[in-house]
C-alpha cells in the first residue's frame, strides 16, 4: 500500500463520535445575557475587562478558605462556639467578607450528619467555598438528595449507620450553610495547617467525611 497518509489511511473510526463543542447560544436567556452585557459595555457602565475580572475573581475563590475556618474550629473550641453562634461575625473576623449573606455553620457529629442542597437553584456559600461543583447544580442531585439522601450519600462513598440522623438542609432563601465535618480521630497532635488539608470541599457540603490523618478516605 502506498502510504502518504500515515496511520490515518486505515480509516476504521467515525468522526461523528467527537465530543460536541460548546453549543452556540440559542436559548432566550443566553441572548438576554449577551444583550445586557453588550449594552453595559456600549453605554460605558462597565468595561469588558471589568466583567472578565469579576468572573476571574469569583472563579479564583476556592474551598481552601472554608477548610481554614473548619480547621480553626477543630483546633479552638471557643472559635467553634462563636462560629456556631454567629458565623457572619466570626468569618468576618477571620478576614473573609461574606457581604449581605446570612451564614450559618452546622456541626456534624456521630449522631447528626448535615448535607446541604439548594433544591430551587444553586445557592452555595461562594465567599468561603468558591464556585459550586457542577453536580451541586444538577437536577439529579437537587431532586434526589432530599428524597433518598442515603442512596445519594452512598454514591459519594459516604455510608452512615442508622444511628446517625441524616439531616438534609435545603438552602431555599437568604442563608448559606457551612458544614463542619467530624474531626477525624488520630489528629490530636496535628497543626491547624495540617488539619486544613483534611477538610475537603465535599466534607463542607456534607456529601463526604473529612479525610483521615494520612489524607486518605477513612
Amino acid at each position: 500500500m502506498t502510504n502518504t497518509h500515515g496511520s490515518h489511511t486505515g480509516h476504521d473510526h467515525s468522526h461523528a463520535d467527537f465530543q460536541p463543542d460548546i453549543k452556540e447560544p440559542k436559548e432566550d436567556w443566553e441572548f438576554l445575557e449577551i444583550t445586557l452585557r453588550e449594552l453595559l459595555v456600549d453605554k460605558g457602565i462597565l468595561s469588558a475587562r471589568e466583567i472578565q475580572d469579576e468572573i476571574e475573581a469569583w472563579e479564583k475563590k476556592s474551598p481552601e478558605k472554608g477548610a481554614e475556618i473548619v480547621a480553626r474550629a477543630w483546633a479552638d473550641e471557643d472559635f467553634k462556639a462563636r462560629l456556631l453562634e454567629d458565623a457572619n461575625q466570626t468569618i468576618r473576623d477571620f478576614g473573609i467578607e461574606v457581604d449581605v449573606l446570612k451564614m450559618v455553620a452546622l456541626e456534624n457529629t456521630s449522631d447528626l450528619h448535615h448535607v446541604v442542597v439548594c433544591t430551587l437553584c444553586s445557592c452555595y456559600p461562594r465567599p468561603i467555598l468558591g464556585v459550586p461543583p457542577l453536580w451541586y447544580k444538577s437536577k439529579q442531585y437537587r431532586s434526589r438528595v432530599v428524597r433518598e439522601p442515603r442512596a445519594v450519600l452512598n454514591e459519594f462513598g459516604t455510608s452512615l449507620t442508622k444511628d446517625t440522623e441524616v439531616r438534609v438542609v435545603d438552602s431555599t432563601a437568604d442563608c448559606r450553610y457551612l458544614v463542619i465535618p467530624v474531626r477525624p480521630s488520630g489528629t490530636e497532635n496535628m497543626t491547624e495547617q495540617e488539619l486544613a488539608k483534611l477538610v475537603t470541599r465535599d466534607s463542607m457540603i456534607g456529601t463526604a467525611q473529612a479525610l483521615d490523618p494520612l489524607g486518605l478516605r477513612s
Binding site: T119, V146, R147, P149, K162, V169, S171, T172, A173, C175
Partner: protein, 95 residues
Amino acid sequence: MSDQLKVGSKVRITNAYPPGHIRTPFFLRGKEGTIIRHFGKYPNPERLAYGLNGLPKLNLYQVLFDMESTWQGDGSFAANDTLTADIYETWLEPI
C-alpha cells in the same frame, strides 16, 4: 402575621400554588414541620424578583420536617432522618 413564631412551634406550609417567583419548594407545600431557627427579617423575594423593593421585610425561619411524613415512606432514608428548609413567614400557618 406580625408576631414572631417561637423556636419549637409547629407549623404547616401553606398548600397553595400561585404563579411567580416563589422560594417555597413544591414538595413541602401542605407539609407540617417545626421551627428550629429564626434568621431575622429579609426582603420579600416574591417582590424583589419583579424589581420591587421587597418591603415590608419578612421573618425567615428554618423549619424541620421528618422524612417519613414528608415523603410518606416513598424514599431512601432511616426512621430518624430529617429535612430542613428556610421558609418566609407568609407561607407558615401555626398549628
